[in-house]
Every structure is written in C-alpha cells, then in structure tokens.
C-alpha cells in the first residue's frame, strides 16, 4: 500500500495526445511499481482545475507531479507550493514560464518543431516560396507558449520576419494571409480554413497547430477541390496524423514523443523518491529535449526527415 504516488496533470482529457500521455505514464507506473493519479483541465487553457489538482496531490502526499501546464505563467505559484512541500515537479510538453519554475521539463522543442515544418514547406515550394500564400491555423486567442512557439518557429523556418517573436499575428509579410483559431480540434480547423480560403482562395500553404486541426482543415480543402495542391503542415506525430501523411492529407508533420515524456517523467519521480536526484536538462537547453522528428514522404534537401512508414513505427496512438 505504501507505493509512492506520482500525479499527472494534463491540459484536457479530450485531446488524444494527452490521453496517450496518460497511457504511457500508467504503463510505466505499473511496471516500476508506483501509483499514478491523473487529473486534467476542463478545456485547453483551464488553469484553476490544474491548481486544484496540484493541491489535491499535495494533500495526497504525492512524491512528484508531471504537468502539461495550461497557463505556463499562472500555474507557477501553485508549483512553488508543491516544490516547497518537497515534491519533484516536471513540466511535460509545455514548459513553465520561467522554465526553471519546474525541476525539469521534458518536452518537444516546439519552436524547433515549427521551424522544421517551415523549412520543409519553403524548400518544397522552392522559388515559389517568394509569393506563397500562407494560412496560419493557431490554437486559441490566448497566446499560450506552445501555440506561440510553433507558429513563430514555422514562420522563421519559412523565412518570414517575426516582428515580436513572443506574439502571434503581428507579422506584416504579405505572404501570411491571416491567422484564425481552431481550439486544436477538427471543427475549428475546418471553419478556420474555410474562412481563410474565402479571404484568399489561392492559399497554398497551411500551417496547423496540431493534427486534429489539420484534419479539419483538410476537409475544407477537399470540399473545394484544393486537397491536392495545398501543402498542409502540422505538429504531433500521432498515428492518425502519420497515416494522414501517408495518405497525402498532411505534407509533413513534426513528431513529438508524449509516451517518452510521460515514461521519462515517471522514472524521474521514482528516481527522486529513491535517491533524491533530480534530472538534468539537455546540454545547451533549459529543458530535456524529448526529440522531434520531421515525418514526410517527400523529403527535401537540407532538412532531415523520416518517411511515414518509419513514422508509423514510432507514432504514439
């Protein structure tokens, strides 16, 4: 009965990404004999539920917390309390702000993930990149860290001037047709795509915050017969997403490794419970990079990538 407890707090419990993360953590916890408690926000951006979850984990006497913060800055005081209570706190997927508010961060380099698909898209277009028409399908109106990092990373990779790299939507480059929000889900992806297409029917590059949004955007493109000549890029690397790469729905996606984040997190907490040792950040970064892989079936020069078949072996759900 005296198994150490580790808590996992995800952004939502509707996004498959987090559900996979939960599964990964559960498997690992089972394997190493640690008890897992799971919590989540009610919607992408819900900070209060996460604060409440942190408190309940303190009350439960947990050894460590793994959290994908909904509001990287706002959650920090609650995290401070958990750490003051002697717990190990690890941010997964999305860093805290400041990043060192957590004992460690196991995450995709989201800026890099964006940059990879940006570079790939620019290389695919070649000369035509100079007068590309780009649609930006972001998460929501809240400018949260993953959203900003991926969006700005993509634009940088594509070769567009970022203005303020901490803000979405302040770019003046005429190639960016517009930004719209998707809530990281299919219905939002479709509606945003439709609206941007109405604004500019000749869009030929579509950036999407994640693969559910990309799937929705694709339906909008298909409805107007543009599914073959538009480049859709995304981030996630879920198995449905990789399948979509294989099927030509998505041109390229930056694969993340949620299972790895979760299992590394559980291990770190176990280690901490046993020895008090805390994980160390990847050399030169303020987080432990769990890696990112560009998955595409049309590789381009200068950007390393893996095929969708290889991707299917590594994908997470």
């Amino acid at each position: 009965e005296d198994k150490p407890i580790v808590g996992l707090i995800t952004k939502t419990n509707t996004n498959p990404f987090f559900v996979k993360m939960k599964e990964g953590a559960a498997m690992k916890a089972e394997a190493v004999g640690i008890e897992l408690r799971t919590f989540s926000g009610k919607f992408d951006g819900d900070n209060e539920s996460q604060v409440q979850a942190v408190e309940n984990l303190i009350a439960a006497g947990a050894k460590g917390i793994l959290i994908t913060p909904n509001d990287s800055a706002a959650i920090v005081p609650a995290i401070d309390r958990a750490r003051a209570a002697g717990m190990l706190v690890i941010a997964l997927d999305t860093p805290l702000s400041p990043a060192d508010a957590a004992d460690a961060t196991f995450a995709t380099d989201n800026f890099k993930a964006g940059e990879l698909i940006g570079q790939w898209a620019a290389a695919r277009l070649g000369d035509k990149a100079a007068d590309a028409k780009i649609a930006m399908l972001d998460l929501n109106t809240s400018q949260i860290s993953v959203d900003v990092a991926r969006d700005q990373g993509f634009l940088k990779g594509f070769g567009i001037d970022l203005a303020d790299p901490k803000r979405i939507g302040d770019e003046t480059d005429p190639r960016v047709v517009g930004n719209d929000v998707t809530q990281g889900a299919e219905e939002g992806g479709r509606r945003a795509m439709e609206n941007l297409l109405q604004k500019e029917p000749d869009i030929n590059v579509v950036y999407t915050i994640n693969e559910p949004a990309a799937a929705g955007a694709y339906e909008a493109l298909r409805a107007v017969g543009r599914d073959k000549d538009v480049l859709v890029v995304s981030v996630d690397g879920g198995c449905p997403g990789v399948d979509n790469v294989k099927a030509g729905v998505i041109g390229a996606t930056s694969m993340q490794f949620p299972l790895k984040m979760a299992s590394m997190g559980v291990e770190a907490v176990l280690e901490f419970a046993k020895t008090g040792k805390k994980p160390e950040a990847t050399q030169g970064l303020d987080f432990v990079n769990t890696g990112v892989e560009l998955i595409t079936d049309t590789p381009v020069d200068g950007v390393a990538s893996k095929s969708s078949s290889d991707g299917l072996d590594m994908c997470w759900g």
Partner: protein, 357 residues
C-alpha cells in the same frame, strides 16, 4: 321542468341585463393606425426580428466586403457552417417551446458520433446499422432526460446540467479519447460521410448535410403547425397545468419532445462526421450555449409556448453571417465573440420592442 317558475327566481335587475344589447364582454377598439397594423403584423410573424437583423447584416457586409461576401459559394458556405448548430437548434427549439432548456445537446451529439464511428469502423457492423444505432442512442439519451423531467419532476436545466456531465464522461470513456480517421470511415462506413458530400447549384455548393438540415426544419415546422402533436407541444409549454386540464397528456408530450430532441442531436452527429471527416471526442463542447443562442436570437421565448422554428434557422444564420463576415473583413476572432454578444442583446431587444410597440 317548470322553466317559468325557475326563471321567476331571478332578481329583476338581472333580467334587465339579459335584455341588454351587446356581445359577451365586448369592449371598444380604436380604428387602427398604420403603426398598430405594423405592430400586429410583427406579432403575427414572430420571426420578423431575426429576419430584419439578418437582412441588415447581409447588407452591411456586402457593402463592406463586396463580391467575396455575396458570392453564391460564400453564402452556401455560411449555410454549411451553421448546419450543426442549426440541427441542434431544432432540438433546442422543441425543448425551449416546452419551457425547458437542454444543456446536454452537444454531449449527446459527440457521444452518438463516437457510437456511429466505433460501430461502423471497429466492430465491422453494417454501416447502415451503425448509423441506426447512433440515432437510436440519441433518442435513448433524450428519453433519459425526458424521464428525469417528467417522472422525477426535476427542472430541465438541472437534469441536462447533470446528464451533460454524464454523457460527456461516457463519450470520453467509450472513445478512449481516440479520433477515428476520415480514411477509416471512408473505407468501412462511407454512409457516415454522406452528409459531407455536396452538389453544386449556380456556383453555390450545398452539402447533403445542410440540405438535410433545411428539410428537417421544414418537417418540424409541419409537425409543429399542422399536427395535433405540435399544438400540444405549444399548449404544454404555454401553461402545463392548463394543458393537462384541457385533456393533454403533458408528460407524454414532454417525453416525446425529449426523445425527438435526442434523435436530432444524433442527426447532428451524422452531419458533424460529414463535416469534419473524422470522429473526434473533442467536438461539441460549446454546442449547448451556441444552440441556445440561435434559438433566442430566433425569437423563441425561454418561458415556453411562443416562438417559431424558422426563427431558429434565422438565428443560426445571423450568427453564421456575422462570424463569416467579420472573418472576411479580417477582424480579430476576439471581436467576433464580442459581436455575437452584442447581437444576442440587440436581436432580442429588437424583438421585445417590436412586440411591445
């Protein structure tokens, strides 16, 4: 019977009254000036307010944006975009006409879409059967709401606040929060995508889903206005006690309304699958308030018994036109929400004003 002797018992002063001219409780009516007639016109056509708002919105956006907005394709796109909320709005209208409210419509929709998807794709069931199961599940979910409302006499707001949580949790549990991909559906149960297919008409493109929505509006209009059931729905919402005494089995009517509403939520699920291609457990979170918004902009009274089903269609279109128009004008999404908020107040305010003049 000795009628005459009986009559003589009546006091003399009362017999005077019997002889008086004039009708039963007659009263004076002024000759009607234009404004009054206008007022009566609006009173007879309760969808006037949303129709006016819609017209004005279209006018404003077409001058602001021009051709791109008025292009048949864009107009049909708006219809596509309001399909889901429109169908849920039908369900919501029926409930609101009975003086209820349904917070669970979105949850029923997403739960039934997952049922359709899993039955069709994973269990290898005949696609038609999968669809049928989903529709049945929707009706069942509605029946549960209806039972809680009629049998336990719980307020609809509370019942559906509860079942909203319950159905949503069931959805997450049953779907394992996994998306079912569009391609998988295409392969195993293409009928689920039928609602997403479209036909072109003079440059406009209508999905079968949105045509289905229009047909459903027509059917429900017929049912509400040309069948006894419809009259009973209005009477029940108007004054349940009176309706019961007038001989209407109000509980039965209420249950039938909840069942039909649940069924329509499942139909919305079908339209949803057609629209977003895949089956996603993330859909429909905000659908309850969005559908209520469409209904109230459409002029239905939240107190029941008053309102027209076509008002809801107009209400959904008003919101759709604004969101589309603002997006085309390049307005930040933030201000879209702001505008929808204003719109609700203005449309309903206009409605009140028209009716009260």
């Amino acid at each position: 019977m000795s009628n005459t002797t009986v009559k003589s018992a009546a006091a003399e002063h009362e017999l005077v009254a019997a002889a008086a001219s004039g009708d039963f409780a007659s009263f004076k009516r002024e000759s009607e000036p234009l404004l009054t007639r206008l007022h009566r016109f609006f009173h007879r056509y309760p969808t006037a307010a949303p129709a006016i708002v819609l017209l004005m919105a279209v006018l404003v956006f077409s001058t602001l944006i021009g051709d791109r907005f008025l292009h048949p394709f864009n107009l049909s796109l708006i219809v596509q975009q309001v399909t889901i909320i429109g169908i849920l709005g039908i369900a919501q209208t029926l409930i609101i006409l009975t003086a209820g409210i349904d917070l669970s419509v979105g949850a029923i929709m997403v739960l039934t879409s997952v049922i359709m998807g899993r039955f069709g794709v994973e269990y290898g069931l005949s696609p038609i059967l999968a669809l049928g199961f989903g529709l049945f599940a929707g009706a069942l979910a509605g029946y549960i709401n209806g039972l809680l409302v009629t049998f336990f006499r719980l307020p609809p707001f509370i019942v559906t606040l509860g079942t909203w949580n319950i159905f949503f949790a069931l959805n997450l549990w049953y779907s394992g929060s996994q998306t079912i991909r569009s391609q998988a559906i295409d392969a195993a149960a293409p009928i689920l995508h039928w609602t997403g297919q479209s036909i072109e008409l003079l440059g406009a493109r209508f999905t079968y889903g949105s045509l289905m929505m229009l047909v459903l509006f027509a059917i429900v209009w017929y049912a509400l206005n040309w069948t006894a059931w419809g009259r009973h729905v209005y009477a029940t919402g108007d004054d349940p006690a009176a309706a019961r005494l007038a001989g209407i089995r109000t509980d039965r009517i209420l249950r039938s309304v909840y069942i039909v509403a649940g069924f329509f939520c499942a139909v919305a699920a079908w339209a949803l699958i057609g629209r977003i291609g895949s089956v996603s457990p993330q859909a429909g979170m905000m659908a309850n308030l969005d559908s209520i918004t469409a209904v109230v902009i459409g002029g239905c009274s939240l107190f029941g018994g008053r309102g027209s089903i076509f008002g809801t269609l107009l209400g959904a279109l008003v919101v759709g036109v604004f969101r589309n128009g603002l997006a085309l004008s390049g307005v930040d999404v933030l201000w879209q929400d702001f505008t929808v908020g204003l719109l609700i107040i203005i449309a309903v305010g206009l409605d009140q004003w028209i009716r009260k003049v």
